[in-house]
Amino acid sequence: MAKLYFEDVKEGMEIPVLKKHPTTRQLVMWAGASGDFYEIHYDKDFAQGTGLPGVIVHGWLTFSFLNQMITDWIGEDGRIKKIGVSYRGMHFPCQELVCKGVVKRKYKENGENLVECEIWAENPKGEKTTPGTCIVALPSRET
């Protein structure tokens, strides 16, 4: 796996984009693996009965995609310390979901090399549905 060092990171740099195409099948797999069986994620009639246009992607699945973007980027020697998102907009199955991020700040604290990033998911209209932040600890070439 790729390995990201603290020295390789610059403020303002973009995190490599991760594109996902969640299908209804994937939502069912997620329901089974996560234990979230709320019907708005796989039963169209139920979802429409609550006022939604159709089934929607689980927030935690979108959040997981954003985590994958980060772990793909930092590699296994880096570590996510904190990651959080708010759900402002929905994603629908069979539509592209794009995970993006940018480095806001790099700093040292308590002997750790930390990088703070802004992260978000975009729908096909390019709207930010799921903004959030993430703090990762990275290895250094110096130590």
Binding site: I83, G84, Y87
Partner: protein, 152 residues
């Protein structure tokens, strides 16, 4: 006017729940990673994982959501007495202190930490903030999760 932050909600704020326990299985971790579509070998390849600093298969950061006491969440958050019946996940935040590993026995406790009412586009919205604390078999806190559940 009907009260939104009911006595049932008020009496729960600040009270930590009794722990529930989960035995973390590598098959479950693999199915979880498959559902994300994440091919990372740390989540599925024992031989590979053994040579890393982790020494064994670990779970993706969001695996904490698979270790949820849904009955607690139903009684205390999703269906706790309140005139606003519809629910939305407003946000989630994970603080990770160390990875959850295959073979761990994880205990989870919960606490409702805050309840606030805001005026939104669809009328009054109740924001329930609740935290979950994940400890491993050695008693170490491995993760803390802060959730925002919206009732509207």
């Amino acid at each position: 006017m009907e009260e939104i932050i009911t006595e049932e909600i008020k009496k729960r704020i600040g009270v930590e729940s009794e722990p529930v326990y989960f035995d973390v299985e590598k098959g479950h971790i693999r199915r979880f990673a498959d559902a994300i579509g994440d091919p990372n070998p740390l989540y599925r390849d024992e031989k590979y994982a053994r040579k890393t600093k982790y020494g064994t298969i670990i779970a993706p950061p969001t695996f904490v959501t698979a270790l949820t006491d849904r009955e607690w969440a139903r009684q205390n958050i999703f269906e706790v007495e309140c005139p606003l019946k519809r629910v939305l996940n407003g946000g989630n935040e994970i603080e990770l202190y160390e990875p959850i590993r295959a073979g761990d026995r994880i205990s989870v406790t919960y606490k409702l930490v805050d309840a606030t009412v805001r005026e939104g586009k669809v009328g009054k919205m109740l924001f329930l903030i609740y935290e979950a604390y994940y400890r491993n078999q050695f008693g170490d806190l491995v993760a803390k999760v802060r959730n925002t559940l919206i009732r509207y």
